[in-house]
Every structure is written in C-alpha cells, then in structure tokens.
Symmetry: C2
Subunit: 213 residues, 2 copies
DNA sequence: TAACTAACGTACCGGTTCGTACATTAGGGA
DNA sequence: TCCCTAATGTACGAACCGGTACGTTAGTTA
C-alpha cells in the first residue's frame, strides 16, 4: 500500500484551498466585496495571505469563486425536492415552503446575492457555469403549472419564472431586508413566533393567485 | 430693500451643502458605502473635498445624511396617495400600483436600502427621525383592511404590515435583484414590455390572497 | 537517498484614500 | 469703509491595503 490515505497531512492543497474559500465566503457575505479585507480572510485561516494569491490569484477571483460555489450549493439542494406525488396546489405549496426554509437557512447566500446585485451582477455574468442553466426549481414549477392548467385549477397567464419570482421575492426580502424593515416597523421578520404565519401566508398567497381564474 | 434675494451668490452654504448631498447620494447608491470614494464625490461637485468635511464632518456622517434624506423623500411621496373614494379591493390595488411605480422610479433609494441592509441597518437604527414613525403607507393600509374586513370581503389573519411586506417584497426584489435574476433566468424584470404584466400580477396576487377567506 | 517540485511563510512595497493643517476670500454688519 | 466671520481652496500626511519578491520546507519519485 504505497498510496495510503493521508491522515492529517501537514501539506494538503485541497484542504487549504477549501478553508480559504469557506472563510472568504463568510467574510465577503459579512462585509461586502469592498468591505472585505484580504488580510482579515488570511488571519481567519490557518494559512497565510500568500496562499490566497497562490490558489486564487487575487481578491476579485476569490470573490467570484465564493459566489460560484454558493450558487452550486443552492442548485444541489434544489435537486432534492420531489413533488410528483402531490396535487398541483399542494405541490406549489411544497415548493414555496422549501424555498422559504432554504432562504432562512442560508443567510450568507442571500447576502452574497444582494452584494452581487449592488455590483450589477458584473461577476456572475461572466460565469459560464451560471447562465443558461434553468434551475431545478423553475423546471419543477413548469411541470406543476402544466398539470394545474390541464386540470383547470390554475390560471394560464403566468409562467414558471413568474411564480418563481413571486416566491423568491417574498423569501428573499424577508431575510435580506430584515434589518431596515425591523428598524422602521419594529417588527422582526425572522421572529420564530411569526415564522409559521409567514410561511403559510406565502403559500396561501401564491396558490390564491394561481387559483383565482 | 437691504435684504434682496441673492441671485446666484458666489458663496451659498445651502446650495453647496445640497449639491454635496445630491452627488453623495448618487455615489453611495452606485458603489456602496465602502466602494464610494470621498475624492470622487468631491470631484463630481463644483466645490472641493474640504467642503464635505466642513458640512458633514466625515464620510460616515455624509452617508447617514444621504440615507436620511432619501427616506424623507419617500415618506413625503407616500403622503400624496388618497384612496378613500375606492372600494377595499380597488384601494389595495391602487396602493400596490403606487408602490410598484414608486420602486421603479427610485432605483437609487432601493440600492441605498440594500446597502444599508448589508450593514445590518447599523446607521438607520441610530436615526431618531426614522424609527417609531409609522409610514403613511402602513397607516393607509390599516384603514383599508378595516373597511374590507367590516364588509366581509377580506380575511382577518393579516395586518397592515403583513400586506405592506407582500407588496414591498415583490416591488423591491424586482428592482434590486434584476441583475442576478436577469443573468440566471435570462429575463429582464424591468423590460417595459413586461411592466403591465407584473404590475397586474402584483395586485392580483395581493387581492386574491386577501379575498380568499 | 538525492533531487525536484508543489506547497507554504516572511517581509515588504507602492498606490490609494480618508482626513486635516493652513491659507484665503467673500460678504454683511457696525 | 472697515472688520469680522462664514465659506472656500490648496497641499499634504499617515495609515491602510492589495499584491509580490524572495526564501524555505515537505513530500514524492527515480
């Protein structure tokens, strides 16, 4: 056995790279691209700043790598959902709930997307891995909408992307704008006591819209 | 007439201050707090950097002043809406449409709010002019909801802030996330050809939810 | 075991950027 | 008219920060 599995190698390119990416994701999500500090990312790592440039070439490329990895994780999570055994309305509810839970569980991703929008998506646009791939969520919605329309339960003037927009807008805003909303209206949108209320409100809203013919 | 109105005074504190604030608002909205450059703001002004510190003391205070002024303008615009002559459902539609138009017409305000949320609303929280004042929009919604419930047309398990959340989330997301959404789904949410569709979709959605008892 | 390369560390540089010390001028009031 | 102060302009400093030159070590392979 010459190729024994290396246990706790002193030098491990994969591990070092992954650690840098994880710390960078947190730092960029926390402070934004311009607010993030390369020195700070390095300090929170068990390695040095030199390694960031060794593996990622620069601050910008590190940010892009973090963004790409974050999107990849979301895509993978979306793949897991299956709603083929449910009726159209319940299937829509299920998608809404999964999206709701997903946004709540991944605030760093939400923040990265907000930050990327402040930069007018200039980085994401150049990522071939991100464009032109319809997300699992939208493909799923498209099938459900077809079933609902065939059954005469759903209206026909909205498509899958429109429904995805409705759902995402609510889920995203609730997390992304929790701070200003909380400051102005004195209502904590993430208060666990209100979670069930908003989760139900979202699916009620989407289903009510789709079934109002 | 010793106090003749000064026409195009060479020195005008009010005018200089206002110009700095206007340029700063655009710069902060464009690049975010950390991305904005004090030298750049000064360069776009007809005065110098020294005046920024003379009138606003520092970059941070300038940002806070820009944010505060932006919120004040929004409040003022919300005051103008009157829907007392409309039935509950149509009144809701009117509010949704006004909010929709308002978000589309003020992308800089949207961006400032996004930026402030990245900073977890740390600046806005310290502004006494912003907290505890219920916005005109919410007060209006509250009256409409009461009328709708009394008429037996509206459900009773949502309050004015909830409805405001539904409407704002959709309007805000459509503008704030247009870039990443456009890149991923290849759909321009601000395409004029789709404007009427989304405007109607929003009010349909909110009214459908409220009238589904 | 020698030698070669991937992986890692240290120290530092140069430009950027917020902020200010200091000088100056416009304009109103006594 | 003279003077006092609000308003403005210039030049510069000091710290920060992204990036790199240069040197070192671990692990692999012949």
């Amino acid at each position: 056995m010459t190729a024994s599995p290396p246990v706790a190698r002193r030098r491990d390119a994969e591990r070092t790279r992954a650690e840098i990416l994880a710390v960078a994701t947190a730092e960029f999500a926390d402070r934004g691209y311009d607010g993030a500090r390369v020195d700070e990312i390095a300090a929170r790592t068990s390695t040095t700043k030199r390694m960031i440039y060794y593996y990622f070439s620069g601050k910008r490329q590190l940010y892009v790598a973090a963004l790409e990895a974050a999107y990849a994780r979301i895509r993978e999570a979306e793949q897991q959902v299956s709603v083929d055994h449910l009726g159209p309305a319940d299937a829509i509810r299920r998608i809404a709930e999964v999206t709701f839970d997903h946004h709540e569980a991944n605030p760093d991703f939400i923040r990265l997307v907000s930050i990327e929008n402040i930069h007018r998506a200039e980085h994401i646009t150049r990522l071939p891995s991100l464009v032109k791939i319809n997300t699992p969520a939208v493909l799923l919605l498209d099938r459900i909408l077809s079933r609902g329309r065939e059954a005469g339960e759903f209206r026909a003037d909205v498509d899958a992307i429109d429904v995805h927009l409705m759902i995402s807008a609510f889920c995203f805003f609730r997390v992304a704008n929790q701070h200003t909303f909380g400051a102005i209206f004195e209502r904590d949108l993430l208060d666990p006591a209100r979670r069930a209320h908003y989760r139900k409100m979202l699916s009620d809203m989407v289903v009510a819209h789709l079934t109002t013919l």
